[in-house]
């Protein structure tokens, strides 16, 4: 199916909605259709937030990500709540915040998003973009360039730091990881701590 579903979830303030918005606009820049459903409680800060993004070259029927191809888990609560949906997709989780349950199926990628955001973009506020960058690798429909342009337009003032965060995430995912969209090629960034399904990394 050409349709791609992405689920991003974490707690309020992590930029879950912003990441979805950047992805959706990147898809528009790539000439695609996109939808995003946002759910959160009345009080957002600290509460649970989820954005479901669907991307397709064709008109999108259901905007619900019932079986996400990529799930970015930015908090333990988000991971626990939605991991079962992504059994057939790639689960990208921040290993500083989430302890994964690898007893069941689903490809996992441990991504130190917060750590990388501080190191490369100078702020943990960019962790969402590091995670989104890694997700983009799984979405060949949306070229990295469109992602970068989207970031620069949505953050006109912090453009370069945020673009760096996105790029860092994109290059983190190793070429031979099941989550990589181009398993034949060598990734240009450093190798990630990839966990094959059903195996713990350490």
């Amino acid at each position: 199916m050409i349709r791609k579903e992405v689920l991003i979830s974490g707690f309020g303030g992590q930029g879950v909605v912003k990441a979805g918005r950047i992805l959706g606009y990147a898809a528009v820049l790539a000439g695609l259709r996109a939808t995003m459903l946002v759910s959160h409680g009345t009080e957002t800060r600290g509460g649970y937030v989820r954005s479901q993004v669907v991307i397709s070259p064709e008109a999108i029927d259901s905007p619900v990500a019932e079986q996400p191809d990529v799930f970015c888990a930015l908090s333990q609560a988000a991971y626990t709540r939605f991991r079962s949906l992504a059994d057939k997709g790639l689960i990208i989780y921040d290993d500083g915040l989430v302890v994964p349950d690898l007893s069941r199926g689903g490809a996992h990628l441990a991504l130190p998003a917060r750590e990388l955001a501080i190191a490369r973009a100078g702020s943990e506020l960019c962790a969402n973009l590091v995670a989104l960058g890694a997700a983009l690798r799984r979405l060949p429909l949306v070229p990295l360039e469109c992602g970068l342009q989207s970031v620069r337009e949505i953050f006109p003032r912090q453009g370069e730091a945020t673009a760096r965060a996105l790029d860092t995430g994109y290059r983190f995912i190793p070429a031979d990881h099941p989550g990589s969209a181009d398993p034949g090629q060598r990734a240009s960034g450093k190798g990630g701590r990839a966990i094959p399904p059903n195996r713990r990394s350490c």
Partner: protein, 388 residues
């Protein structure tokens, strides 16, 4: 065309600005707050007025006042505010004042859950006020693109029919983000099949014609020969009357100006209907998108299924339900509203599939189609069985 990725609320705002809206009065409420927020930024830049009212009743009264003063006006709310429109809504219908009303339905009753979609105002949008003797015009978008175009159309219909038009959306349409395009010049507007009707001024003196004529310019107080406007049954000149004959003629006009020209309002989208399917799923608004996915999958699995999506709700399109098929209404409420109207219009009755506060899953709809294919009614949800 300008390409955007934004909410349905933003699409509605853009549609209103393009249609020439120059007055917005409203009271913020999730999931329609963004319309007010966007209008407060956009209107001053185009020479329009934004007014935050003290409540929804005042908001629609302000819109009516603005419209009588020659401005195209809009207000936006959700269910809890839509009920407060009851009084001014009736005035706008009776005195034939064009105004556009957006209702982003959320789950209820009363405040319900602010950030969850609902479809509880299907009948309320038919009877938004007391007194009877009228028809209403209600459009129902299911995506941001349509939220944009239907807002433009709602303004045109309001002007042509001289009546309030409700855009009955839901939380997923208004709060949901989506890619959509908006025309940037007259040519692109035409290519998109849209038309902006300017506000004409009635020359007078027969402001309230008793026929079902379309395109009678609305009353703008102080313009032309001047007109009177009150909430009583009017003479043709707009003065109060208690003549029963005038009341009959007034009612006839309010009903038949809409019924006689309903071809300008009626709209629907059919899918898989050409091969006369045994099962037809019916929906409007955001559930229709899941329904379409489910029907595509059901057909792939060999079921004889199709679907109808209502893009205009009122006047109700009875003629769509004359097929020799089993209808299944899919709604975002637990009691069934649309299903009752289909039951009235359809030969073989209708079944109901409702969810409360969230979209149904494709899998659940497929199961309902499978059961209907075997001659059973869809299984009610467990909580429904327990509740009874």
């Amino acid at each position: 065309m300008r390409k955007l990725f934004d909410t349905g609320n933003a699409a509605i705002t853009e549609g209103a600005i393009l249609a020439g809206c120059s007055l917005f009065a409203g009271y913020p409420i999730t999931p329609a707050t963004e319309i007010a927020e966007n209008m407060s930024r956009r209107l001053p830049r185009v020479g329009g007025y934004y007014i935050q009212a003290e409540d929804e009743t005042a908001a629609l009264h302000i819109c009516i006042g603005g419209s009588l003063g020659g401005l195209k006006a809009m207000t936006a709310t959700s269910g809890p505010g839509y009920v407060l429109y009851a009084d001014p809504y009736g005035w706008a219908i009776g005195s034939e004042i064009p105004v556009v009303i957006v209702n982003a339905q959320r789950v209820g009753p009363v405040s319900g859950i602010t950030g969850a979609p609902g479809q509880g105002e299907f009948y309320l949008s038919r009877y938004p006020t007391h007194g009877g003797n009228f028809e209403t015009i209600v459009l129902a978008p299911n995506c941001a693109q349509e939220a944009f175009s239907m807002t433009v159309e709602a303004f045109s219909l309001a002007e042509r029919f001289r009546t309030p038009v409700t855009l009955l959306a839901d939380q997923l349409v208004t709060d949901g983000w989506e890619s959509f395009e908006i025309p940037e010049d007259a040519e692109e507007l035409r290519a998109a099949g849209l038309r902006v009707i300017p506000r004409y001024v009635h020359p007078g003196p027969r402001f309230y014609p008793f026929e079902d004529a379309l395109d009678v310019p609305p009353v703008v107080l102080g313009c032309g020969l001047g007109g009177a406007c009150s909430d009583w049954t009017p003479t043709e000149e707009g003065y109060d009357t208690e003549e029963r004959e005038a009341q009959m003629q007034h009612a006839h006009r309010l009903i038949h100006k809409i019924r006689a020209h309903r071809h300008l309002i009626d709209r629907h989208e059919g899918y898989g209907l050409e091969d006369e399917p045994d099962i037809v799923l019916v929906s409007y608004g955001s559930p229709s998108r899941v329904v379409r996915s489910a029907v595509t999958e059901a057909r792939r699995q060999g079921y004889s299924a199709g679907c109808i999506r209502l893009q205009s709700l009122w006047p109700f399109q009875d003629h769509l339900f004359r097929r020799n098929a089993v209808y299944l209404a899919v709604e975002l409420n637990a009691e069934g509203q649309l299903v009752r109207e289909i039951e009235r219009a359809a030969r073989r009755g209708a079944h109901f599939f409702g969810t409360c506060g969230e979209l149904p899953s494709v899998a659940a709809l497929l199961e309902a189609v499978r059961r209907l294919g075997e001659g059973h009614a869809p299984e009610p949800a467990r909580w429904e069985r327990e509740a009874w």
